[in-house]
Subunit: 258 residues, 4 copies
């Protein structure tokens, strides 16, 4: 039986006249798209365009809600209450779903963005608020989690018996506890393309990854997160996908096989 | 057979620490609520609270989308493209619907706010963009229109065979063409409470209204718009409702009888 | 020699159609005004109006910069860098000063708002960034500080040899370390009007205050912070001012005597 | 005596993580910079950085205030009152000036952005509000105007006896009335680099330009507006500057010679 993997990317993160990633080109590579919903990035015109393109290409759509902090791109921590997080997430999921509903399509997953995503792993209040918002909207949605422990987002998703998908990173080094090595530390981002490609293939086909300390960890990912903000990253993304396919991996949207 | 009327009000127009109307008290009077969706007013916490209260009280919920201009409260004209209006409206309807969906409830109607609402009557591009956004989201939604001619919002709603509901005003004087007398003109707002009550009753039970020039017009309203921003307006709203009921009118949400 | 005291209040905290305090009436009581600068609250029209009124009435004007979080009214902590705090504060001071410059007037003081103000006391990075922004704009500006230890805002202001003014609160209970008793604890806000008036008078004329544990502290305030968000608070503010004057205290803007 | 010309560009128009022009490289070409002030684009960190760089390089700084419409980049018309325009402009000028004051520098000029700039030419209310805001802030500031008739911004600036500087465009075709040919019309943007260079040189050294209809017009510009949003435009800008210098033109900030 073929191994399944989803390839996803954070897309639709422009705002008005501003653009970030090469959204159009990345949509030819990914099988799922994490779409910004207007708080940390994204605007209604961009959201509509991205939803239409994902629809045409059969790409799974995820909501990528963030903190209400556009100038900080949702990357600065904000001390919000349970109620504020619950409602900010529900508002953003609803807004994106409006565009999907207009196309007769459905949301596939939710992945909290930036600092909201980081807090979702380690803070119980944030995690519970996010899960309850997703669950109340649609309990069949897939929640993206990370393999670290604790990952409260996963804990609360499982309590509600919701589906989760584990995100793995192609070019980021892991610590021994499955957390990502901080970008401030040398070696946190793997730059050798061949290493990135082989490492991705090994994680997906062998379920193994070597940490920054040299330890071997078992890792089981459902979706591989790639970036498209530079031409180099896009070519690399393409190469990773081709290598996976050449090795018999079934690269397809999560919603089709999870 | 009893005459049916809906009573609605613009609610949930606070923002963060700011409040406008006595939302809680007005919810004991109205049968439908026009809820701000976060662009001209409203925020996720307020939207959730309002949706929960309308749910408890059996009140019909309408989306009240506005221009993306919070400091101007959506009252200043903005020159937007078809695409910008379509997506701004769809985004706002979707966001509000998220809160309804989380309660297992459905949206009843849409009424564009302020200057977006004014433009929806007289500008074909604005009207078509708004109607297409509503239709694409859910063709069974009721569109609030005014009895003026032309009212392009009505024209495009009818082209799509959507339900429309005519809004009538209790305390605003009409011109001979069914438009509202500008607030800059003396007599535009009727301040004598008894006149307002009797005028409302007459519009609803006799389908007649006297314009500012003294002309008699036939008027057939489906929903009576009331305000709750002062204690006086709230008491008046209560009195109007009681008078209608005492005269055998069936005051109930549009969704129940239209 | 008469004892001097300034009376200040947080004003101009409306936004667009929204109003908070009875700004106009409070301007007949205070001798200094802490004016919102557009980030947590305030908008250009409100700022101009407030500056004109303070100019007419001879009131000292302070900038009241806050976090870029309007929906949270600047009351939610945000994790910003030194550079972000420095530039957010400088931007806001400059914007308010534009309105003063247009009237031929000068800024008197700066008092950081809400959670930015709280952080300014206990976080060195925040305090240093705020002080450097104020100093670089105009080293003669007065910095409002609180009598707690540590108060890093005071530490950095003194390093730069800037003038500071100690804020005291009429109706808030103090802990033994001069910090304010948390609003979550009973007795944190003193509601008996006579107590508030006599306590204010005693702090100002005798430099003594009784803490929530009953301990006597020496306290030397330069400006008494009052609120104007309810009719009751406004009448109380008036009574406090009248009592101070009746007891020979010279109630005047800081800039005139500090 | 040498002919003087200023070269300017719209810079600092990024926002948070978003960037537009190659600001750093353009600062090696221009002699004046039109800096966004946070409404249509720009943020406090970007503003500080741009002000520091202009200071180091001896570049004249202009405020480039726009409509409060970030998602529309200030390019969509908004129907604002005199008071709203006056205060929006004054707020933005003050905010930018804060960064200049912190460096001991002064503002050189003001050029309204996008649709605010268009309206400033043809709408008397907008023009008067902008001029009064600039004048009240600092009557010695230079106002950028266009050679069209009427240009109400120029009319009101002259009434106040303020200095104006005429902006000319290197790569935009002119109509016979000195207005710019609409971008919707073929030939509106001149793409042949040699034509652009020679046309710029001729406008500046001979005060002549050929309109889109072939008519010869006399044109006297004080500042040549160039763009830096692509690598091509930047190379072209460099070539124009070098050609002007090679032909004996004195390319220097307006404030030095106007």
């Amino acid at each position: 039986m073929a191994i399944n993997i989803d390839i996803c990317s954070d897309l639709g993160e422009g705002f008005g006249r501003y653009k970030l990633a090469n959204d159009d080109k990345m949509l030819d590579i990914v099988t799922s798209a994490n779409l910004a919903c207007g708080f940390h990035a994204g605007d209604p015109c961009t959201m509509k365009k991205m939803v239409e393109l994902t629809f045409e290409k059969g790409i799974g759509v995820g909501a990528h809600p963030g903190f209400p902090d556009r100038v900080g791109f949702g990357r600065r921590n904000m001390d919000l209450s349970y109620e504020e997080i619950y409602t900010d997430v529900l508002y953003q999921i609803g807004a994106l779903s409006g565009f999907l509903q207009a196309k007769g399509a459905n949301l596939q997953h939710v992945i909290p963005h930036g600092q909201l995503g980081n807090m979702a792993q380690k803070n119980e209040t944030y995690a519970e608020a996010i899960i309850n918002a997703i669950y109340d909207f649609d309990p069949s949605l897939i929640v993206f989690v990370q393999p670290v422990t604790p990952c409260y987002l996963k804990t609360f998703a499982e309590k509600k018996e919701m589906k989760t998908a584990t995100v793995i990173f192609a070019d980021r080094a892991y610590n021994d506890d499955y957390s990502l090595v901080s970008r401030k530390i040398e070696g946190s981002v793997i730059t050798d393309e061949n290493v990135v490609v082989n490492r991705s293939l090994r994680m997906i086909t062998k379920n193994k990854v070597t940490t920054i300390t040299g330890k071997e960890l078992t890792i089981k990912g459902d979706t591989l997160l790639l970036h498209g903000d530079t031409n180099g990253s896009m070519l690399l993304a393409k190469k990773i996908k081709e290598t996976l396919i050449a090795n018999g991996v079934n690269v397809a949207p999560l919603g089709k096989w999870l």
